[in-house]
Amino acid sequence: QDPIRLAFLAASSQNGYNDATWQGVQAAAAEAGDVQVEIFDGEFNAATQYAQVEDIIAGGRFDGIIVAPNDTVGIATALEEATKAGLLVASVLFPVGPSLTTMTPQVPGLTVTVASDPTIGATAQANEVIKFCEGKDPCNVVIMIGQLQFPFDNLRYQTMVDTLKPHANIKVVATGEGSYSPDASLTAFQDIIQANPKIDAVLSNADQHLLGVEIALNDAGIPIEPIYLIGGGLNAITVDKIKEGIFDATLSGYPRSEGYYAAQTLIKAKKGETVPNFIDPADLAKNPLVVDKAWLDANPDFKAEWEG
């Protein structure tokens, strides 16, 4: 009997988050035995990933595809071809299809989506900021977002702004694009604090941005302690920073679990078992959606799923 063969289509293989997902995929394969997995590098490029799906269909070597989509809408047509060709398809990180918030399959034949609705996370983050800002008037907030041109970042940003809006004391004084790079965030935040020296909270969708923010604050001689810093991703570096009391909180992220559950589900499906079509790793993790120092201190054995 032939082994089950799965392809993992990373958004980019040279990226810590995707690397953790890949490790999850490998772990699930090892656990099941007789499963072979391969990784493909999407180079953060939608067309590349699309071509990879086509090549995989043409090659006929695989039973299933796990995709971390670079372009959640465009890839749908290629994946539809894949399901038609009899391949099992799982999507991680984001759902595939026109809507980023619809977790049930939007592509006919798609087996499972292992992801969290980005609006839920963004709302949770914004709520933490609202909590922090209680009793502060004005409460000056800077939003550091990845890149507004990315549909998911755009969605997150809108959600954050909409959630904060009803609270009159909260003022979003500036928005910076961090591009998931500490360097870009450093530059943007340095400039922002020139114009807005008094800042109470920084609301960021990614921990990498906070690394830049921290340096900028240090550099400007502004004490970090009173400022509320919340990021996203829950990587090892951030866990340390929260424990040290530098960052305040982060939105949890489970890249390894995403890969693990996606692979596990496909293997089960291949073996004919019934499987769910939507898994939210944050639910299964039993950790709070937003992780802070108090929780980390209470759970000293917690290990982040990725390094950074």
């Binding site: 293989s13 590098d41 067309a47 043409a58 809408v73 041109q149 755009n154």
Partner: protein
């Protein structure tokens, strides 16, 4: 460098039309053949009609853009705005297909590309500034427009007629089916080849790139010729854009990012001179094919993707070294 003579240095010593010469002239082709052989030996699924057609089909946008870019580069220019024009065309086509008519979208996208390319050409010739800087600037402007107009959002187009261009296949019999897009690409390529080799415009393009002053003094409308090359390049980017939108059923303002560099790399890898005045379409096609084969090989074989950039780089250096092997004094 104002001195045209400096562009064409006195020829160094050369041997006869020997193996060395053939290697120098057709180095890329040799590398392609080598790669074909290696990939065929390494994987059963490589040398199948389906895979080969897939490679062609996937590279259609790059083929089209590189083809027209070759005109620009032979004409002594550089076009960094093709990626951005691709983006503008992509969102415009998606919007038109959704709101007006899917077939109109297929015609409008290349036209929009031609307009934007013409704007490039007019700025370059009116201000007499190097196209590198101008197209760098306009690429920012065009991309910015695409993002602003769409508010950074995707435009999904799930219309069957519209998918025709990108996804429809024509059966050639014998179980072999070719994508409409591939046929469009081949027709476009033939057109550009014809223009370059058989028309007065083609002649003028070579002359403008080889020695602009001499071309001017021969009564050639050098500015017009340059503008035309940029219009072609823009039009090609628009065409490539609409094919991609049709294939993905979605227009996004970020589409085509980096396409300009891939196209430039392909053209120069093929052996067209970056200094202008010399080159050929087949060379650019060979360049695209080489890059496409490397990518396909990586996808088909089970190689660690970490090695891909490195391998691509090494293969390019090899191609360069091979072509240079004939160049020895």
């Amino acid at each position: 460098m104002t001195d045209a003579t400096a562009k064409a240095p006195m020829a160094r010593q050369r041997r006869g039309w020997s193996i060395a010469d053939i290697v120098r002239e057709y180095g890329v082709l040799l590398i392609i053949v080598l790669l074909l052989v290696v990939l065929t030996l390494l994987s059963d699924s490589f040398l199948t009609p389906r895979n080969l057609l897939n490679i062609l089909n996937q590279s259609t946008p790059l083929f089209i853009v590189s083809c027209a870019l070759t005109l620009v580069i032979i004409g002594g220019g550089f076009d960094l705005s093709t990626g951005a024009i691709f983006g503008v065309a992509a969102v415009s086509a998606a919007w038109i297909a959704l709101n007006v008519d899917p077939y109109l979208a297929m015609v409008a996208a290349p036209l929009i590309g031609i307009v934007l390319g013409t704007i490039n050409g007019v700025i370059i010739t009116a201000f007499n500034v190097h196209s590198f800087l101008v197209t760098l600037a306009t690429s920012l402007v065009y991309r910015g427009m695409a993002i602003l107009v769409t508010n950074g959002k995707l435009i999904p187009v799930r219309i069957d007629e519209f998918a025709w261009l990108g996804r429809q296949k024509l059966d050639l019999g014998g179980g072999v089916a070719v994508n409409v897009a591939v046929i469009v690409m081949l027709v476009f390529m033939a057109l550009i080849m014809f223009i370059l080799n058989r028309t007065t415009l083609g002649r003028a393009i070579y002359a403008v790139g080889g020695n602009e002053e001499a071309a001017l003094l021969s009564g050639i409308r050098t500015n017009l010729v340059k503008i035309i090359t940029f219009a072609f390049s823009g039009g090609a980017a628009g065409l490539a854009g609409v094919i991609t939108v049709s294939r993905l059923s979605m227009g996004e303002p970020q589409a085509g990012t980096g396409l300009e560099f891939e196209a430039i790399a392909a053209v120069i890898l093929g052996g067209t001179s970056i200094m202008g005045g010399a080159g050929a379409i087949w060379r650019s096609m060979a360049g695209v094919l080489l890059l496409a084969l490397i990518g396909n090989g990586f996808n088909i074989l089970n190689v660690n993707p970490f090695f891909k950039d490195l391998t691509t780089g090494v293969i390019i250096v090899l191609a360069v070294a091979l072509a240079a092997a004939g160049n020895r004094r």
